[in-house]
């Protein structure tokens, strides 16, 4: 009330967004399936590394409080080089958001609506994201707050329901580390670290708008750990109910696991619940990436991002369809190309390159301003 419409989100909202962001597409596609019954260990390792990565992101942001990723890039690399790198980031964010959207569309069209054109799903989803972002970051944060209890309880309940349906077989988790740590580490880097944890690089656009910036680092690391824990939980459910062999073959593991639920002869066929969790996760994820891209464009093109929300999201709807001709191509790109040539440079290499430059420049600036001040 007293504070007039500054686009701010609270720490809790940040945590909520990060959480749904993390579990969003994990709930669709599942992670670490290559490591079979040790997937959960792989996720655990990746969570710890991911938390470190996020801490590093926030550490970078702390050097220049109140400025987002794009402003930081221009600060470090100068106006023109900064704009080019920023534009690359914009393309990266938008591309990934289209990919995430496509993931969801594939889920809906192959599980629920076999005859509905995938295009319609894509348009409606991106329409929601656009509407939400048009209303602003605050609305985004609050929407997350409204849905988080449901998302959270549903995920927990699905696990419990599987447990009580008698489909939960701990022995599917054995043998633990049969082949040693080698294959796990190979899987963690680059694939598990970059997806879903490294993708948090997008939050470098959002974190500067948090109202208690000082605590952002603690909260984000904590959130990543919690969401990592939930992902481990989900993975354990998947392995224990489906078995490692089957989990490897299913396209949507959590959904398949939920299909095993049968309680009281009445609570069965609860796939819908999963679709809800997934749907909100996807909306969050697409919106966060979209917001990242839009903020970048705002910075580069110098116009308020609200003008761009609708046109750009329409492009996302189009690109999500064009991105690949079929599911196999989509998944193959996701495994072979994206982690190595897109995630790693944008999530790890550029931030690491930026760090020394940033620290050096900030120090220089400080010295100069100190000198100015003493004069």
């Amino acid at each position: 009330m007293s504070k007039k419409l500054v686009e701010n989100i609270s720490l809790w909202q940040l945590a909520v967004l990060m959480f749904t962001f993390e579990i969003g597409s994990v709930a669709v596609v599942g992670v670490g399936t290559d490591t079979k019954q040790d997937a959960w260990i792989a996720v655990g390792v990746a969570t710890v590394l991911g938390a470190g990565l996020v801490w590093f992101y926030v550490y970078l942001l702390k050097q220049l409080p109140g400025r987002n990723l794009f402003e930081m890039i221009t600060f470090c690399f100068g106006k023109w080089l900064g704009k080019i790198i920023g534009l690359l980031y914009v393309y990266y964010f938008l591309y990934i958001s289209a990919r995430v959207l496509r993931d969801f569309c594939e889920l809906i069209t192959s599980v629920i609506f076999e005859n509905t054109p995938i295009e319609v799903i894509s348009i409606t989803m991106v329409g929601i994201c656009a509407y939400m972002l048009y209303l602003g970051l605050e609305v985004f944060g609050r929407t997350g707050e409204v849905f988080i209890p449901y998302v959270f309880t549903f995920i927990i309940l699905i696990g419990l329901a599987i447990l009580f349906s008698g489909e939960f077989q701990m022995k599917n988790l054995l043998p633990i580390l049969g082949d040693g740590l080698g294959p796990i580490l190979k899987h963690v880097f680059p694939r598990l670290l970059t997806f879903p944890f490294g993708e948090l690089v997008t939050f470098m656009v959002i974190i500067p708008y948090v109202s208690h910036f000082a605590k952002a680092a603690k909260v984000s690391v904590f959130t990543v750990l919690i969401s990592g824990f939930i992902i481990i939980y989900g993975t354990v459910i998947e392995i224990a109910s489906l078995g490692a062999r089957q989990m490897e073959r299913t396209v949507f593991p959590l959904l398949s696991a939920a299909r095993e639920i049968s309680l009281l002869e009445f609570i069965e066929r609860v796939d819908l619940v999963i679709v809800f969790v997934v749907m909100f996760g996807i909306i969050t994820k697409v919106s966060v990436f979209l917001f990242g891209g839009l903020k970048g464009l705002e910075h580069i093109m110098n116009i308020p991002y609200r003008y761009l929300v609708f046109p750009v999201s329409m492009i996302i709807g189009y690109i999500a369809i064009q991105i690949s001709a079929n599911n196999a191509e989509h998944i193959e790109e996701g495994i072979r190309f994206i982690p190595l040539y897109m995630h790693i440079p944008f999530q790890i290499i550029i931030p690491i390159l930026m760090a020394p430059l940033l620290i050096w420049k900030v120090k220089k600036q400080k010295r100069r301003s100190d000198a100015n001040g003493s004069r």
């Binding site: 534009l87 914009v90 393309y91 938008l94 591309y95 289209a98 054109p117 995938i118 295009e119 319609v120 894509s122 348009i123 464009l297 093109m301 110098n302 116009i303 003008y307 761009l308 609708f310 046109p311 750009v312 999201s313 329409m314 492009i315 709807g317 189009y318 690109i319 369809i321 064009q322 991105i323 001709a325 193959e332 790109e333 072979r336 190309f337 040539y341």
Partner: protein
């Protein structure tokens, strides 16, 4: 601020993003499937008959029209501010 810059900012951005992303997809396809650039681009623009691509194309076109409209709006706003 916008005075000396391109007037049609939104449309420009739209085109830039649109073509950029298409180019990106084509490049990725090239890289993964070892196809020629021409093949990839033609794959992008080939309309699959019977598929409902019309929907998304219509939406993208709507986005384009919207961007032109908002450019027009920005210009009008700016004029009214100047006068």
């Amino acid at each position: 601020m916008l005075k000396n810059r391109m007037i049609r900012v939104v449309t420009f951005t739209f085109t830039m993003i649109f073509s950029g992303l298409l180019l990106m997809i084509a490049l990725i396809d090239m890289f993964i499937w070892q196809q020629s650039f021409y093949q990839c681009v033609s794959k992008l623009f080939a309309l699959d008959e019977g598929a409902n691509e019309g929907y998304v194309i219509a939406t993208a076109a709507a986005g384009f029209i919207y961007s032109i409209a908002s450019d027009y709006r920005i210009r009008k706003k700016k004029r009214s501010q100047q006068s």
